[in-house]
Structure formats: C-alpha cells, structure tokens
Symmetry: C2
Subunit: 155 residues, 2 copies
C-alpha cells in the first residue's frame, strides 16, 4: 500500500493510519480504515478513509474508488439490517469548496433515522462549536465503536 | 439490462428511462442515465441513475454500484477540470429516512463553488416551495444540459 506523504505534511488521517493519532477505529484492512467521526452529524457517523493519501477522489486508482464505495455500501446495509438506522447517507465532499475539512479523501456514512433531519441540520451548523459535544465524547465514541465493530465485522 | 418494474409501479425515474417522461438528459449509456435535478441545490446539480430499478444501493449488483460511483467520480473530475466548479459533493441518500424522495437509487453530483454553502442550505430548505425556482426553469435546464453534455462527453 502506497502511503507516500505522511512524512511530507501533516495530515490527521495519515497520522491515524500510521497509529500516531488516536481514533475510534471500527474497521481496518489493507486498503482502508473506518473510524467514527469525532463530530458526528448523527449517532454512529462513520468515515471510510483510503490508506493512500490523495485529496480528490479522481486522483485515486479506480479500483480504490470502487473499493471505498463498496465498503460504504456494505456498512450502509449492515446498519440498516442490524436495526441501527432506517437509512444512511453516503457523502463524499470532493474538494475544499465542498467543505472538505481534511484534504485526504473520506466517505461519510451517516446513519439516518426517521425524523432526524432537523437535528442533523442543527448539528451540521453547530458541530464544531457546541461545547456539549465535547463532554463525555471519548467514552461515548468508544462505546459506539465497540458496537459498530460487532455490526460491521466481515462475515 | 434488467428494468423489471416500470410496468408494475409508478417510478418517475423508470418513466424517464423509458422515455415516457421528459428530463434534461446529460449522459446516457446501457447502465445508467445522468440528468439535471429539476430542483437543483446548486447550478448544474446532476443525478446519476441506474437503469435497473432498486430502492437501496445494496440491492444492486456490485458492478453496478462500482459503475455508478465511477461515473460520479468522472463527472466530478470533468466539472472541476472544466472550470465549472471548484469542488463537488457526491451524495447517496439510501432509504426514505435519509430524504430519498424517489425510491430508485440515484447519486447526486452537486457542483460546489467557493462561498456557496449558505445559498445551498437555503435552497435545500426551500427547494420545493420556492416559486421563483419554477420561472424559466425548463429553458434554464435545457441550456445547462447542453453545456454539461459537452463537458461530460466521454473522451
């Protein structure tokens, strides 16, 4: 796996991939890692991140693109069938102007539940500035990660 | 290509695929169609729709899933390189609770431009109820479709 940039710049996802920063890891293989978003839009909001550092999706090899979306689709299915969400949103913000905060490709898998739209929009607006979101966060994310690991385990 | 449901229920995307409803078509092949969203969140908002009717992404064959996301990625790249947007969002609302309005899989490709977040959120909230959006819409979409056809043409 090519991971050619971690030493050349600071990228929080490369740091996490290299084990130099902590994260709530839910799934990991040689192509990608799935972690819980530290600023979730809904409970259990996941990020699927390729091992290879590129900012834009079209800079990744085609098979990596396929793999990432296949994983997102698999997670989406597992969350729905596991009764954890009625639906999911799979979102790629491809570029800075699309509010891509970390310049390393990542797919959001956002569990959706009936009637959560207003809450999600509210969290979208306040996610980085809401002090309540920091209280008990690491415990909450650890519990969530343990649950999701179970649910997203390959068959 | 399997398209097994158009006669069994009313699905606006099946109607469009079968030529029974009009749409601003930007691209078409044996696996998918790309049309302009009639209620765009930003200028040039595209939908990539598989020929096969399924509500959820995990109900489609894996190779169709790959193909759809590869197309979305290609369109994203073409819009960025063509200077039409600085970035794009690729979004799949997978299930009704995720605000999937049409129960036939579709990927949104939403062109993003610097500073358009507030406008996009505003349009998200008002997209179906804003009377201005209906004025001159079909002309606007036709012009847009012609431009996008040129831009998204396969090499």
């Amino acid at each position: 796996v090519e991971n050619n940039v971690a030493d050349k710049h600071e990228c929080i996802f490369c740091e996490i991939l290299n084990g130099r920063s902590a994260a709530s890891v839910v799934y990991r293989d040689e192509h990608c890692i799935a972690i819980l978003d530290a600023f979730p839009l809904t409970r259990g909001h996941l990020l699927v991140i390729p091992q290879q550092h590129q900012q834009h999706i079209e800079e990744l090899p085609e098979e990596t693109v396929s793999y990432l979306f296949a994983m997102a689709s698999r997670f989406s299915s597992a969350l729905r069938l596991g009764g954890e969400s009625n639906a999911t949103a799979v979102l790629l913000n491809n570029g800075k102007a699309a509010n891509q905060h970390v310049p390393h490709v990542h797919l959001h898998v956002i569990p959706r539940r009936d009637g959560d739209t207003a809450m999600m929009v509210w969290r979208y607006v306040t996610r980085f500035i809401n002090p309540w979101s920091y209280i008990g966060r690491s415990k909450r994310l650890s519990r969530q990660a343990a649950r999701w690991q179970e649910l997203l385990k390959p068959e």
